[in-house]
Subunit: 242 residues, 2 copies
Amino acid sequence: MTTEELLESVHELNRRDEIDGILIQLPLPPQVDEKKVLLAVSPEKDVDGFHPVNVGNLSTKRPGLVPCTPAGCIEILKRSAIAIEGQNAVVVGRSDIVGKPVAMLLLNHNATVTVCHSKTRDLPGLCRTADILVAAIGRPGFVTRDFVKPGAAVIDVGINRITDKAEFEKFFKGNAQRERQFAEKGSTLVGDVHPQVAEVAGALTPVPGGVGPLTIAMLMSNTVKAMKLRRGQAKPQMVGSR
Amino acid sequence: MTTEELLESVHELNRRDEIDGILIQLPLPPQVDEKKVLLAVSPEKDVDGFHPVNVGNLSTKRPGLVPCTPAGCIEILKRSAIAIEGQNAVVVGRSDIVGKPVAMLLLNHNATVTVCHSKTRDLPGLCRTADILVAAIGRPGFVTRDFVKPGAAVIDVGINRITDKAEFEKFFKGNAQRERQFAEKGSTLVGDVHPQVAEVAGALTPVPGGVGPLTIAMLMSNTVKAMKLRRGQAKPQMVGSR
């Protein structure tokens, strides 16, 4: 498959009125110009929310499609009845996919938001100022107890597969279920947050089973939203009823 | 002038190849749909940098046009040889025109960035953690000495005209030049930062004469950049030479 063939498919899906959402599943084959293909998706069908138009819409609070994982983080806070407004939120990581959009969403929900990254000084100290701490860096168990203020809500976006026995024991030694899983499969998943954080946090999303499933749910939610936005409808119309 | 007439003008300017930059001078007459007119400006000629596409480009570090006042803030730091990378930057205010884009620019320059606003708890305390403090709220002299860590760089984006004698004296009593000006004109300009902050800050941009002139300069810089981006040129070509 060439870039041109893929672009042609995207253009056709853009044109077809019965298609409400388009998602480019990455990675694409090496010969394909990934950037070009992603930009070709019509912003109004961009259920990933990655198109610059949707990024701009999020920042300026215009109606648009919001990236799924960040939207899932907000959803989890809301459903857990954790206040956002007026709280100090610290986001570790500044990727286009999670860090920046989740920071923007928290700001739009009236949190005071700090974005940290590899150049941040005294990262643990800064993270300890957080009422809401979001870890999205892709480093297994990087956020340890000393990063977390007692009672803080911690959202662990990282999903890291570990296969090394010594690394496994650092995180899960004495956890019978995980030890059984690791013995059977030779691997297990750990987030960016060290499991010990559960002892100090007021709330902590599990990995697996926390933000991950929410991401998929938000993708479906975005697809319905895309349909509503495109048709100017206040209420969703069932896809099957067309 | 109707919305339709104005849209027609914008469309024509979008089409004309010899036009590199378009700026909609606000406010527009009340009968005109301001939002619609602003969105009609082609993103590649949007020298204000307010179009969602350019907002998205800034957030995702794609080439694009950056809002002038935020770009001026960065320029002033660079020209003053004030380091940004690894510094704690606090932005007070989260407008689409200044607060959010300047936060994004500081983040892109590797600062650790916190965005504060009316819902922020202990605003003075948070501001005192800043190595770089940006005030963009539009409230005369709001940022007082107790907001500022000794030696911090303070960028005052506010431009507020004061006409009340008592308010004037709160800021400028004993300042002969300002008193003469106020007596002559009946008004003077004050930033969002109280003049006393000069006694504690390591650097402070004056109002007037600080960020204001930089905004105009960045508008010209954006116009040249727009030309280069649109023509895919590495080096600018003089407009007069076409």
